[in-house]
């Protein structure tokens, strides 16, 4: 099996690479690339993302044909894709970080700043928080409800169709922290930094 982590200069992806290598061992052929052909030929794709919504979308658009290739992969061919952090946020139609920026539009909705309730909640939301699994998701196989995951973000994805939400986390309000829509998966938290349970989620995705 070929799994590709899309390297599109979206910031620091070393930890994502290390965690997938740890889980994949020799079972999987792991590529880290923005090569369109390699992405096309992959069985699964991981879309990481750090920094701002705007900077990630811009970085993605800088690589000619990447958005079309990802569209083809996830929407036309319906092959499994996992978005992490801003990678998940980019599924939205639109993001409001820095300035209004168009997303991939795969899961209708918007990405806006977490309401800090007049400073009552510190932002970024950094640290370990429990996930409340509200829908069975293939990537949560053998993950107990209320498991701790590592978060670091100031913006949240608000999908129009709440049926795509597979887990939320409690910070200021119920923040969407995981989505599943057919073959498209996303986590707002960082499975690559969430110790054993995070690695299990990566394993679940690889084993799909």
């Amino acid at each position: 099996m070929n799994v590709t982590i899309v390297d599109y200069n979206s910031g620091n992806i070393s930890s994502v690479i290390n965690s997938f290598k740890e889980v994949a061992k020799d079972k999987v052929n792991l590529d880290v690339t923005s090569n369109l052909n390699k992405i096309k030929l992959s069985d699964k794709v991981v879309l990481p993302g750090q920094g701002s919504f705007k900077s990630c979308v811009e970085a993605l658009n800088k690589i000619n044909g990447l958005e079309e290739t990802l569209n083809e992969f996830a929407i036309t061919h319906k092959k499994p894709l996992l978005g992490i952090c801003v990678g998940l946020q980019m599924f939205a139609d639109i993001g409001y970080e820095e300035t209004e920026t168009k997303g991939l539009g795969w899961i209708s909705g918007k990405v806006s700043k977490i309401d800090n309730q007049n400073g009552k909640y510190k932002l970024p939301h950094i640290g370990w928080n429990q996930i409340n699994i509200i829908k069975e998701s293939k990537i949560f196989k053998n993950i107990e409800n209320n498991s701790h995951m590592y978060f670091v973000h100031s913006y949240e994805f608000i999908p129009k169709d709440t049926n795509v939400i597979s887990a939320t986390t409690d910070y200021s309000s119920n923040i969407v922290c995981s989505v599943e829509k057919e073959n498209i998966f996303g986590t707002q938290f960082h499975p690559e930094k969430s110790d054993k349970f995070g690695l299990k989620i990566i394993d679940n995705f690889i084993s799909l």
Binding site: N12, S15, I126, K193, D195, G198
Partner: protein, 250 residues
């Protein structure tokens, strides 16, 4: 609910672990990669490396340590010490650090904080503030606590928040190495004046000090000696905090 983090810190010199007492008197004590792994297996919420390598020719040792650690530990890794430029930050992140803490460079040139947070995101930029009490409040020091700056710590903290810092790592120089507890007043003042998370550092000797640190408003507590010398395990600390009704990840 978001849990309060316990962060063991390892002082690293020339690729080896040491623990400073009041920033001097170093004792060699082990392999940082192994130490970090013990901490992460023990439930540490994050690992912090502070590189105190003085000579330039040995500066690259930290990159190797970070690279090896990030392949073994799957919890966040923060690295600081001697970070001078956006390029240094880039190198550490590429080696597998998740956050980089900036001290002297943030004071000397705020552009390093602005540019790096814009380039890599605020989530990976931690500004480390070394503060010492003076008549009017607290003054920040640079170069591992050697150089006074005349800059007020509270003002600097707010400025760093505006420049894009994602977190502040606040160390009391009066307390560091004394094992007599954090400078609670300092932690309270800073954490109530900024809207970004504060990590309390400097002075932990007992588990009650960790409790006091969290109660002061810090989102995370950092300690070195009590963990490094095996006085307490990470799990001891977490169980104790939980017994005091402080939310932790167990």
């Amino acid at each position: 609910m978001l849990k309060n983090r316990i962060i063991p810190c390892l002082d690293v010199k020339n690729g080896r672990v040491v623990k400073g007492i009041n920033f001097v008197d170093l004792q060699d004590a082990g392999d940082p990669v192994e130490q970090a792994k013990i901490y992460s297996d023990g439930g540490a919420d994050e690992i912090c490396f502070l590189d105190i390598t003085a000579s330039n020719e040995n500066r690259d040792t930290i990159y190797e340590v970070v690279e090896k650690t990030s392949k073994k530990c799957f919890v966040p890794l923060t690295v600081g010490g001697g970070v001078r430029s956006v390029d240094d930050i880039n190198k550490l992140l590429n080696c597998g650090a998740d956050k980089v803490s900036i001290n002297t460079a943030a004071v000397q040139n705020v552009k390093v904080v602005e540019d790096s947070s814009r380039k890599f995101g605020s989530q990976c930029i931690v500004v480390a503030i070394d503060a010492k009490r003076n008549e009017g409040g607290w003054e920040i020091f640079t170069h591992g606590g050697r150089n006074p700056t005349g800059i007020n710590a509270l003002e600097f903290a707010s400025k760093m928040e505006k420049c894009g810092a994602g977190e502040l790592l606040v160390t009391s120089m009066d307390k560091d190495g004394t094992q007599s507890g954090y400078d609670i007043k300092l932690m309270k003042k800073i954490s109530s004046s900024v809207n970004i998370p504060v990590i309390a550092s400097g002075g932990v000797g007992t588990l009650d000090h960790l409790v006091d640190g969290i109660k002061s408003g810090a989102s995370a507590v950092l300690a070195a000696s009590i963990f490094h010398y095996g006085t307490y395990s990470i799990n001891d600390a977490k169980q104790y905090l939980a017994s005091k009704d402080i939310p932790v990840r167990i």
